[in-house]
Assembly symmetry: D2
Homo-oligomer: 280 residues x 4
């Protein structure tokens, strides 16, 4: 596995060339693609040149976002789906291997099984189109009860449910985005991870949780940098990835606004170190 720089997940912004400099400077193993930037290059040759530059700096790609919303209206989803091949073309030209999104863990109107059908049906379409281009799709489940209990109908909010949804689609290019924060807030254990195969995992996020709240009171958008509070069993989590020989990206996504107020080099130096310590 390799540490991955995702400025967006840190609440930071920079243009792609700057991000590339920063990733190299601070010793990350990879960085997220910036599809807007790739598109602005105006052609496959230019995209391939940037991809070569990334490789030359010793960096790998992280994961791109999926520009499709599984809970949109049918009209919107249809438009997003029709636009997907164009997006995919850019990713393939750049050599990106996976895209990712998350599952909204509740709905005000759709009971569980109806929401399941909506997700499974739409996922199957998206996955088949991605598969045609050799791309994998990572799905992230969201664990905090303070989030999934806020509308009338809770939905997928655990590893077991996310795996069941993936199986239901019949697609073999969908896997999980595992996040320590969701694993912890969902009340899951190392044993729950032990049944995974390495092919079940597309990407990994590691975060910690504030120490002054109970598990069921944790907030989705108030996390901590990995290993800083010790609330979450980072060691146990990483030991499973090591045993599986997981080879993909590992990033942080702490939703801490304070990071944007600090010098960016300080933040990235700290984060890169935390990722390296977790990975080793």
């Amino acid at each position: 596995m390799y540490s991955n720089l995702s400025l967006g997940a840190l609440g930071l912004t920079a243009d792609f060339p700057t991000a590339l400099e920063l990733a190299a400077k601070h010793g990350f193993g990879g960085l997220d693609p910036d599809v807007g930037y790739l598109r602005s290059l105006g052609g496959t040759t230019e995209v391939q040149r940037v991809a070569a530059e990334v490789a030359d700096r010793g960096l790998r790609w992280g994961m791109a976002g999926l520009p499709v919303n599984f809970t949109a209206t049918a009209e919107e989803f249809s438009t997003q789906l029709a636009a997907l091949p164009d997006h995919i073309e850019l990713l393939v030209a750049a050599g990106v291997r996976s895209v990712g999104t998350w599952i909204r863990p509740m709905d005000e109107d759709l009971p569980y099984r109806r929401n399941w059908l909506r997700h499974a049906g739409r996922l199957a379409l998206v996955a088949e189109i991605l598969a045609g281009a050799g791309l994998r799709l990572g799905l992230e489940y969201i664990g905090p009860k303070t989030f999934w209990s806020t509308e009338r109908f809770p939905f997928i909010h655990s590893l077991a449910e996310a795996r069941e949804l993936i199986a239901e689609t019949g697609a073999d290019n969908i896997g999980l985005i595992l996040d320590t924060y969701h694993w912890y807030t969902a009340g899951e254990s190392v044993a729950d991870l032990r049944s995974l195969s390495v092919s079940d995992i597309v990407a990994v996020d590691i975060n910690d949780a504030p120490a002054d709240r109970e598990r069921d009171s944790q907030q989705d958008l108030d996390r901590r940098l990995p290993g800083t509070t010790g609330v979450i069993d980072l060691q146990g989590f990483m030991s499973v990835l090591r045993d599986l020989d997981y080879d993909g990206p590992v990033k942080v996504e702490p939703f801490m606004k304070s990071l944007a107020e600090r010098p960016i080099d300080d933040v990235l130096s700290e984060v890169s170190g935390q990722l390296d310590r977790a990975i080793d």
Copy 2:
């Protein structure tokens, strides 16, 4: 429809002959069977004599409980299922027409779809056995969020989900126990009831809710007598039943411990009046 005396649902206790006296004295239209009492009579002839006495007093039967637990271990469920025919025989001898139970709206271990399979599979078995004796099964969904959000995996807690579960079993002798309290706490409206057919309803409970709590803070075991706080739209609810020509039992189930501290005749006189006003 008719007002139904269920002492248990009021938190009161009395032997069956006393309950029968009280039901007649306070003008109820029916009363719940007491299966323990029926069994103690020692034979079909005696059971039929009691049933005749109920009819002679102008009373109809309410609903019996279902002595089967859908969330028990397979071993326990198997034992309960095997004992069901014996129980049914008593009910049939007495002329009882329906049994009822409720759906536990969450589970600590089973995600929604696995719990769904457990319920649907077991329900189908129970319903087929009941159907062989001409009995209907009433299922009650439980609405309060303060209840369904207390374990890792919320389960059925709305009218739409309960109807879907019933449809899934393929049984035509399962219907709903509608309770104003669950209808209100589930955030449902008169429009949600309008799509029901009369054959979808096996029994009805009417209750009100404390006025000093928001809907999502209501507690399953702290309700009020129907029409006393005005929190729940009892009129709208009953108008649907009237339009459907619903002909079954209507009872209250307020979970108010204070009732047991008052003279029983006072309580039953009040409740009977409340039911009559709601029904008319």
Copy 3:
């Protein structure tokens, strides 16, 4: 209900103005829209003028085809879905109320439940887009065993399954295209139809079956004109529609190549009479 002229379903071809003349001349109550013709008119005003002409001749619209293939690849389906709003616009301008398609009753690769997910997921998308324009979708199940048993995995081939699929989508603008031929070959009875509501039916086809074959040997593409062999209980079928006050189109779809070899006026005169006798 009204007799509906569908030249395509008779294996005949004519341009729309001719079809309109023929429908009026032979006393049909309606005729199928010709979307290619409507598109060729070049504008909403012209489309509305044609629609007014249809109405002036005392005719109603039958059903348009659905230009979406539920078993296409995801890419093709996505393209068809994105093109649907344009198609719908024409239909709405013309005042057409429903579109229809059929369910392929087997698949060489997808087992039943995976095919179910494919259909349910795609149907839900199509139905939501149609609903936004006030259009209904009619689905026809295909009954002959000589068809559904020809690939590795049989799929929906009965009324019960088609109704279950429609319920699964959660859409309230999907209904059935009932065809006597499929009803007969599926081994269904008048009792099976009795549980339908009128809102469950979008369109009706009536056909008869050759008298020299057993039910399980009937061929999907070798049928007879309605009431001509007496193999199928047309009376029983139509009595249900009458009791339901069904108000939609009724057409024939015999797949008899011989019809194209006869004078078109002879054929339409015969068919119109058969439809009238069945409807009365």
Copy 4:
């Protein structure tokens, strides 16, 4: 893996002591338990003595039958389920590790999904009870089209479907009984087997098919001894088992009445040799 003597599967009968002699004499690696015989012994001590004798002869147990019918009425199923613990007690005393049954691949009345619910719901109950005693359940899918197409609603008749059913139950003590004959008639390949884990397989049957019929015309009850016609790719099938280090029983089940007309020693000598050649 080991060759297993199942006289019943050969259409032969003998009391258990004779079967034990024959298994040892002809060099089988195991033999099926005879539950009626075990019961007749009258006690755990006697059962354990017989089990010790089997082990002393160098033999292992094959698989016992499951005395539960998944397509019985609810009443019958309930009675069979309640009797299961008693049956299990005998098997556990004897050291038997697995029981098995097959899935009826069609139904005259229940469409696929309703039959699926019936099977999944009942399987989950049976598997949980077996799991409590440490027993595994083997499920066999039935492949011939001449069988699954004989009633109105085909059901599970492929490896993919059987695996999906097992996953649906959520039980981790259910696996497959793989039979070359069903694998062949279902149109499956070595690639289909490659995705299996060894824990997915509980038992294995090997048979060949008559050479004078097409695959879709093969009859479930007219097979051939393994390796005798070469119609079925026995080598490819066994190579997967070897690569998986499959360690369970392998038997033949040819449904050839002619076997009962030959001297039993001739038959067993031939079968034992065929099994040994396939296993090596």
